[in-house]
Structure formats: structure tokens, C-alpha cells
Amino acid sequence: MHIAVLVKTVPDSEARMEISDGGRGLRVDEKWELNYFDAIAVEKAVQMKEAFPQVKVTAIAYGPSYVLEGLRKAVAMGADEAVHVEGGESSWLYPLRAARVLSQALRDVGFHLILCGRKATDDDSGQVGPMVAEFLGIPHVSWASSLEWDGGDSLVAVRDLGDHKEKVRFSLPALVTAHKGLAEPRVPTIQGTMRGMRMQARKLQVAEEPGTENWKLLRFCEPRRRPQIRLIEGDDPGAKARELVRILREEMSLL
């Protein structure tokens, strides 16, 4: 059983970002990390491998050389192989293009099950998973917070979607997008870290077609800033609470 995990490398939470190039670009500190939801997907794949040793896990990433960081982390966590599909800087913002490229890579690499995060924390779009499934003509299950596999041809996933929860059964080949709760990403052991350090990712070239998107990037801007905070004073908690309710109800008509 071959599990392919799609991993995106995103700016880490400490990376500083600012709008550049007259608004056309975003300058980001070169500090990267494996996308949180993809780390969950990698962990789940590795756990499945540990339960069923015939499973092989391949991590796939698309983008410029910085995506090797995410691949290294995936290998350190236990992925058997890494595949780097070389791509341009702008790939982070165009899900359809990324999905098209990744699908081609997946056809090359082969898979029974594809795992990926339910979204990436840079573009927050959540489109690539279902798109890849469509390109490959396979079903997908999104927002999986649990996934059970008994080693056979079908799997059972639980999805917690806020207003309802459901349990689904599906067969391979399929794609699953990981939500929090599916697995807790491990801290790599020293052996894992060594493997990550020594990783030699397989390079794949897939034709991209930048510029054919239906949407043109106009600019980046910052959301509106909140005005200076208004602190509510009072003699005791009761007084402060009453003042708060008064403001919310009478001044702001929120309650």
C-alpha cells in the first residue's frame, strides 16, 4: 500500500512579512516550516506504516527550493521517500495550478491513498486536496478527524464539521484531507532527524502554466486596523460588567 502525502512548506509563525513592490508582492523572512495540517497528514501516514509494515510513505512537495524544508521534516517524521516537483515562487497562491501539477506528479509516483492537510496556513484556500482528487478521478473525504484502516481495501473516517458529525466508509484509491485530531505530529527522534538531514529528494519536472489563471493578482493590502482600545474602569467587577453591558447594548446595539 503506497501512501502519498502532499506537503506544503509555509512561512513559520515567527517569520516577518510585509507588503512590497508597491503592493504587488509580499516580502517574507526566509523562515519556513511544514504546514501544520500537512504535518498531521504525515504523522497519520507514518502511524499507518507502523501498524502495517508493507505500507510505503512518499512525501511530495511543489515549489522552489525552500519546499525541501517541509520534505525534510516529513522524512524525519518517518516518510520513506521525498519527491520535489520544482516550481515557481508564485505557486503558493494558485491552487488549481498546484493541483494540476501535483496530480501529474502523483500519476508518476503512484499511490493508493493520498493524504494532505485540509488547508495550508499561507493561502488558507483549502482547494488543492479536492482538486487533486478530481484530476485523478478518485473520491475524497475532507476534514477527517479520525481515520481507521484494517489493512484492507476500505477505510472509515470521521468528520466533525461544526454543525454535524459524520462517519463515512470509502474504498481506495482515495484522497483524505486532515483536520486537527487525525493525529498528533511527532517530534522526530535522532534517527529520524538524521534521515531528514541526509534526505535526497527525487526531482520531478512537470510543466506549469503560469499566467493561465482566470484571476489576476491586483495587490496585497492590510485589513483595517482597530482603533485604540477603550478600557472599562470601575470600582468592582460588578460595576465594570454593568458598564460593559451598557456600552454593548446602548452604544453599539449589539445585544
Partner: protein, 382 residues
């Protein structure tokens, strides 16, 4: 000259930093407050295998180069200084002589479990009457048949009271200074070997430090860790530079932890209507600290690099340890000043770093000794 860390080293540091952030940092304050050895954290962290990093892969390690080791020491210390002392004791000094000179049996019985964190290791130099002055070591090892009998008391032993085995510096020729010094392995359970008083420290809390008593402790011949008698100081000399650089790396770890706190505070604390980070005097402090931490890092990495290249670095290692330590003491002081009155409160971290940093003054060599050493080296024989 390529001053950059390799991609592999950067990745290693990142992984360890994340492990520390997730596992150690959230517990650091509690470890300091309770001053109890964090057994659960110890088990969890050591099970990852990083304690063996400087040992070969077939022992569960990764044959890490010295620069990579420094990255590890820096990150673990950044998380919790007390915990780091115990970790590093198992990773370096507490196990090195077993690795270097132990029989296969000793390695199996002590070294391997220590690398896995299943046994706690330590090394004993200091005594009541001798710290820097190792030649004045009074703990003796006397031959009796094919065994050695050890007598003496060691002080200030990190992990001492909880250790499963100890590397003990003892003299086989009392009165002959360095020439009589040797390292012996003593294991817990050996009659006459017992922990003594625990020292309650101002900082580096959470690691247990104290006395170890050797009352006619009998150990077999193979527990002499060394190929020849009397070479203890020579053997110590093989790792002294590494130990000094390591102490420098620990200093950087503390500096960085304190600096980060100070920086975040400067960004959010408001006084006179603005975040204090907008004021020049605060910015000046930040700039100076950043500069000196950068310099410390370069010195420590350079010394480590020289060790990796097989180049002599007695001077560079001593300089790195001294410089990084003095910088650290300044940084922890400045950060408590940036915090104002809050720097005095136990609920904030700066006071902990302030207290923790003091151990650097004697760990790895006091600065008086180091300066004397360096001065003699540089001035030369007159």
C-alpha cells in the same frame, strides 16, 4: 570563508528547537519553582535519542560533529537550564570516559542505557577542598588485589544524588599532584557508595546537585577508565576544549532565552503612551545584546569547528567560554532592567535566567583560571 551552518545543521537545530519548544519550555517555570527532577520529561525527552548525539550510530547516536553538538546544547539550555544540565551530563561528561575506555560489558551495562536515558550518569571532580585545583584531589583509589578501593567525598555533583553510575576522579598516588589522577567507574548499589547532602541552589533548579560519598567502595579492575595509570588529566585534556565550548553554547542558550523575553516585552509594554521598544535607550540595549550574542555564537562555533578540523583550540575554546558567559551575565542583567519592577517578580522569566546564569561562572572553568591560562599562553614563557 563560509560562516554558514550547513543545510543539515540548520535542519537539525530547527528540529531540536521545536522539540524543546513543545516539550521543555512549557514546563521550565514549574521545574524551577518546584526544584524537583522532572522524571516524566526526562523519560519523554531522552526516548527521542538525542542524548547520544556525539556517539556513533551503532550506539544509538549520530556521530554529530562538534558544531552540531553546540547547536543541541544551545537549544536545550534555552528551554530549561536545570534540565539541560542533566541532559548534557548524560550526553557528554557523564558518559564520555565509558565510551572512550569502557569494556563491552560496561558499555552495555551503563553507556547504552544512559544514552537512552534509562540510567542517569554523572562525573565527579569537585571536592570540599578542590575545585579548580584538581591536583589537590583527596579522593583516593588504592589497589587491593585485582580491585580498587575508593575513599573520599565529592561535592557539587550534577545528577549526583540520583545517578545510576558515576565517573570519579581519584588519585592513585596521593601527594603526587596531576600524575596520580585517574577516572574510575562506580555504580549505584556498590557498597559504600551513597549520596550525601543535596545542595539547594539559587539557580539551575530541577537538576539535583549534591554530595557523593565513597566509603571503601570496591570496584573491579575494568572500572579503571583509562589505558594507563596516571593519565587522567591527559584524558580530560582530550575533551576539555569541547567542554568549554559546550559551556559557551549553554551561555548562548540562556542569553537567547532572556533576550527573546526582553524583546517581546519591549514590543508590547507601554509606558508614557508608547511601547518601550520605541525609546532609544531600550533600543540601545537590544542592539548591544544582539551584537554580543552574535559574537558569542561566532566564537563558540569557531572553537567547535576547530575541534572538528582537528586543530588545536585551547585558547579559542577558553576565550569562547569566557566571552559567551560574560555576555550572558550582561544580557540577563539588562533584560531584568528592561522589565523594570516585573524583573523582580517570580512570575516572569527574567529573574530565573538571572539566577540560572551564575553557574556559568564556575562550570567549565572559573574565569580567573581561564584568564590566567590564556595570559600565560599568550605572553609565553619569560
Amino acid at each position: 570563508m563560509d560562516f554558514r551552518l550547513t543545510e543539515e545543521q540548520e535542519f537539525f537545530q530547527k528540529v531540536v528547537a521545536e522539540a524543546v519548544d513543545r516539550m521543555v519550555v512549557p514546563l521550565a517555570q514549574a521545574i524551577d519553582e518546584k526544584d524537583e527532577f522532572p522524571w516524566e520529561l526526562w523519560r519523554e525527552f531522552s526516548s527521542l535519542g538525542y542524548l547520544g548525539l556525539r556517539y556513533p550510530e551503532n550506539l544509538g547516536g549520530m556521530n554529530a560533529d562538534k558544531v552540531t553538538c553546540m547547536l543541541f546544547y544551545e537549544e536545550i539550555t534555552r528551554g530549561s537550564v536545570g534540565f539541560a544540565q542533566s541532559v548534557i551530563m548524560n550526553a557528554l561528561m557523564g558518559t564520555h570516559f565509558l565510551y572512550r575506555f569502557g569494556t563491552e560489558e560496561i558499555k552495555k551495562r551503563c553507556l547504552l542505557p544512559a544514552i537512552r536515558g534509562e540510567k542517569i550518569a554523572t562525573i565527579c571532580f569537585t571536592e570540599d577542598q578542590s575545585g579548580s585545583d584538581l591536583a589537590a584531589t583527596r579522593t583516593t583509589a588504592t589497589r587491593e588485589g585485582d580491585a580498587w578501593v575508593i575513599n573520599g567525598t565529592k561535592m557539587w555533583i550534577t545528577n549526583g544524588p540520583i545517578c545510576d553510575f558515576a565517573t570519579v576522579l581519584a588519585t592513585t598516588e596521593p601527594g603526587s599532584g596531576f600524575k596520580g589522577l585517574n577516572f574510575f567507574l562506580v555504580e549505584k548499589g556498590t557498597p559504600g557508595f551513597s549520596p550525601g547532602q543535596i545542595i539547594h541552589k539559587m539557580g539551575c533548579r530541577g537538576t539535583v546537585t549534591g554530595e557523593l560519598i565513597f566509603d571503601s567502595v570496591r570496584v573491579p579492575q575494568e572500572n579503571l577508565l583509562g589505558e594507563e595509570l596516571g593519565k587522567g588529566m591527559v584524558y580530560l585534556g582530550e575533551i576539555l576544549n569541547e567542554v568549554r565550548a559546550m559551556t559557551g553554547a549553554m551561555a548562548i542558550g540562556i542569553s537567547r532565552a532572556a533576550f527573546e523575553e526582553g524583546l517581546q516585552y519591549a514590543r508590547k509594554r507601554v509606558a508614557f503612551g508608547n511601547p518601550i521598544g520605541t525609546y532609544q535607550l531600550i533600543r540601545a540595549k537590544i542592539a548591544e545584546m544582539a551584537t554580543e550574542i552574535q559574537a558569542s555564537r561566532l566564537m563558540v562555533h569557531y572553537a567547535a569547528w576547530r575541534i572538528d578540523q582537528g586543530l588545536d583550540c585551547r585558547n579559542e575554546a577558553a576565550m569562547a567560554k569566557m566571552f559567551a558567559t560574560e555576555v550572558c551575565l550582561k544580557v540577563v542583567d539588562e533584560v531584568t532592567r528592561i522589565y523594570g519592577a516585573n524583573g523582580f517578580a517570580q512570575e516572569y522569566a527574567p529573574q530565573r535566567y538571572f539566577r540560572d546564569a551564575r553557574f556559568l561562572l564556575y562550570g567549565g572553568g572559573t574565569h580567573e583560571i581561564l584568564k590566567d591560562f590564556l595570559g600565560r599562553q599568550i605572553v609565553g614563557k619569560l
